[in-house]
Amino acid sequence: MQKPDIEHETAYIAKEVVRKIAPEEVELFNFTSDEFFENPKIFCHPIAKSEVALGSGLEFTVPMTLIILPIVSHVLVLFCDECIKTAAQKSTITFLDILNNVIHPKTAKNEKIPHEHDDKVRLLMDIREISYKKALELELDQKPANELADSIVACIVNRIENVWIKT
């Protein structure tokens, strides 16, 4: 996959996540994502306390968009190939089922998951784990970090499913 494709996919998935988690930020999404893709490295670490001389001197939260974009970008760079590969296998079980197994492992505990889908479950679980850890790294609290990780997995799955249906 080429860099512009990853950027395009990142922007698409991140926008979907923003729409779910922080809908008030959608208006500013393109402005934020354009700057993010110019230099993603500077947004990959928590934003330190401001030292602007004429500012209010108060602490500000970072917009969710600037937390979602680095996480989605990080995840896609790591797993993009696997995602496409998984989508190409045209599994009989929908991705929503797999997602259900990932998000609600307790309810799905008694059900027998077919062996051939274990890899997909593991893959999505890995995506979730990485997203969650990255969210904590970016100083998000545990609860919103969990919600964010779930939404990212859901949006990635949706995206893969859409691509799969089209192809």
Partner: protein, 535 residues
């Protein structure tokens, strides 16, 4: 004829604490330039002081102005801001908030930016009536979720514009940046000169002698810069409270962002000296007890005490060595030059405090600046002088200290500071009466002034007689008081302009004053402030 205690005065017509600190900063930088130039002249063994000084002042002014003028462009580049008009929904609400506060030509443009490391705060910048408020995107998205909080943030920045903080702050920052470049470059030049002239022993001796003076100036400039940046926040908060006619919004905003502070209050206070923003707790305290803004600040008194002596001693010594004149003669002239600083800075605080005491209901004359306060202020200035004296003369001074002379010296200095402050307080009272045209300056006032002057001269005669002409000294003391009077009058004249149409207004103390040309209520927000204080 109304009683003076029943007239509600507006103490906000005076220079604010920010202005006072700004004067100290400019004075310190000029003094530093003077001192550093004279060291170069001494090392070059040539009497070209005026040329070097003129050149360094010219270069410094140009340098500071260049950095200052580049600030807006650099900020826009660095923050990658975008016009808010590209986001119609946010823009609509913001325009409503801004248009509610009539800032006339100072109305700012709004820019939005994405937070970056160490850059995530709403702030204002710009110059010459082209102001901008930069909003981080994280705050902009709160516009619908928490409209009141958002409005208060924007009001705080608008308050900085209304208070005239933007120019002062960026000039301060520019001066500090330039000062750092200048100092580095300066030491490089000194080293080069020393290498070229090969007068190592003299140079090292001279430098080690002057180094405490240089260090003291650097310390004063650094802390004054921080102090300017901190103090303006209190005034901005007060203006927001006055605009809202309540402190609820700003208090809620500050309380919601309170940060965990160190358990040791002393340490957090020390840490605050190095910070460019006041502690949230301090801001809350000032909001709920805003009379603190009008109590003469003892830190300013201490700073002025240190500065006047450093100015007199260090520069007197360097120039004296440079042009071959005895230090004490130059020192006296320099003391006279530094005198208006006492009047402008500490004097204004005392004067403002007097006006503040008038603005409270009932007869509260001198409640906030009574004789005890004047004495304490004068004493703190003496401490400042003695501290700088010890620092500049070194520990040897302690060993050689003549106790009798020292004991004589302290009350003399105390009186030296107390008399002008006392004079200003009475002068202020009478000046206000004069401005109202309700009362003519009384004979007692003149009697006190003359008595104060005579007392001052009488005290100083034995101190100065060995080396100065008595009549010259009398002339200098009179000059001192004349300068004080002119400075106070100038301050008042300058602040008598209508901020909306620039019309000169004579009776600027009245709380009910309206501009005769544009009919703006000139003391509107001050009235709210007073209501708040007395209520």
């Amino acid at each position: 004829m109304p009683e003076i205690s029943n007239i509600r005065f507006n103490p906000f017509v005076f220079p604010s604490e920010t202005d006072i600190r700004f004067v100290i900063l400019i004075f310190s930088i000029l003094s530093y330039l003077l001192m550093s130039s004279s060291i170069i002249c001494y090392l070059l063994l040539d009497y070209i002081l005026l040329e070097v000084l003129a050149l360094s002042i010219l270069l410094s002014t140009l340098g500071i102005w260049y950095i200052y003028s580049e600030y807006p462009i650099n900020i826009i580049k660095e923050y990658k801001t975008n016009e808010i008009s590209e986001f119609p929904e946010i823009n609509k609400i913001l325009n409503r908030i801004i248009s509610n506060r009539d800032l006339g030509p100072k109305t700012p443009k709004i820019l939005i930016y994405n937070p970056k490391p160490a850059k995530n705060d709403i702030f204002v910048f710009g110059r010459q009536n082209n102001f901008y408020i930069a909003i981080p995107s994280g705050l902009a998205v709160k516009i619908k979720k928490q409209p009141e909080i958002f409005k208060t943030y924007v009001h705080h920045e608008l308050a900085h514009i209304a208070n005239g903080d933007v120019t002062k702050t960026y000039l301060t920052l520019s001066a500090w940046s330039f000062f750092l470049y200048y100092t580095s470059f300066y030491f490089l030049i000194i080293v080069l000169i020393v290498i070229i002239i090969r007068e190592y022993t003299t140079s090292v001796m001279f430098l080690s002698y002057m180094l405490p003076g240089i260090s003291l100036f650097i310390i004063i400039i650094y802390f004054t810069k921080n102090s300017i940046l901190r103090i303006r926040e209190f005034y901005a908060d007060q203006r927001v409270a006055a605009w809202d006619e309540s402190i609820i919004n700003i208090e809620r905003l500050l309380s919601s962002t309170i940060l965990p502070s160190t358990k040791l209050e002393f340490l957090s206070g020390l840490k605050n000296l190095f910070a460019v923003h006041p502690l949230i707790g301090q801001r809350l305290k000032m909001l709920t007890d805003n009379k603190r803004l009008f109590i003469p600040n003892l830190w300013v008194a201490l700073g002025v005490g240190i500065l006047t002596y450093t100015f007199r001693f260090s520069i007197g010594k360097t120039i004296g060595l440079c042009i071959g004149i005895e230090e004490t003669y130059i020192g006296l002239i320099l003391s006279i030059i530094a005198s208006p600083l006492i009047v402008i800075c500490v004097g204004t605080e005392v004067f403002r405090s007097t006006v503040w005491s008038f603005s409270l209901p009932g007869d509260h004359l001198f409640q906030r600046c009574g004789l005890l306060w004047l004495l304490i202020t004068a004493f703190v200035m003496v401490i400042g002088q003695e501290v700088s004296f010890l620092l500049l003369k070194g520990t040897n001074y302690l060993l050689e200290l003549d106790l009798i002379m020292f004991i004589y010296d302290v009350p003399l200095r105390l009186l030296f500071f107390f008399i002008p402050l006392f004079y200003i307080t009475y002068f202020g009272k009478k000046l206000m009466e004069h401005h109202f045209g309700e009362d003519k300056p009384s004979r007692i006032y003149f009697a006190i002034s003359i008595l104060a002057t005579i007392l001052c001269i009488a005290y100083f005669i034995p101190y100065f007689i060995p080396w100065i002409n008595f009549y010259v000294y009398i002339a200098l003391v009179f000059l001192y008081f004349l300068i004080s009077a002119i400075v106070v009058e100038l301050i008042i004249q300058n602040k008598s302009k209508c901020p909306f149409c620039n019309e000169q207004i004579k009776e600027s103390f009245s709380m009910d004053l309206k501009c005769p040309v544009c009919q703006h209520d000139l003391a509107g927000w001050a009235k709210t402030f007073m209501k708040h204080s007395s209520g």
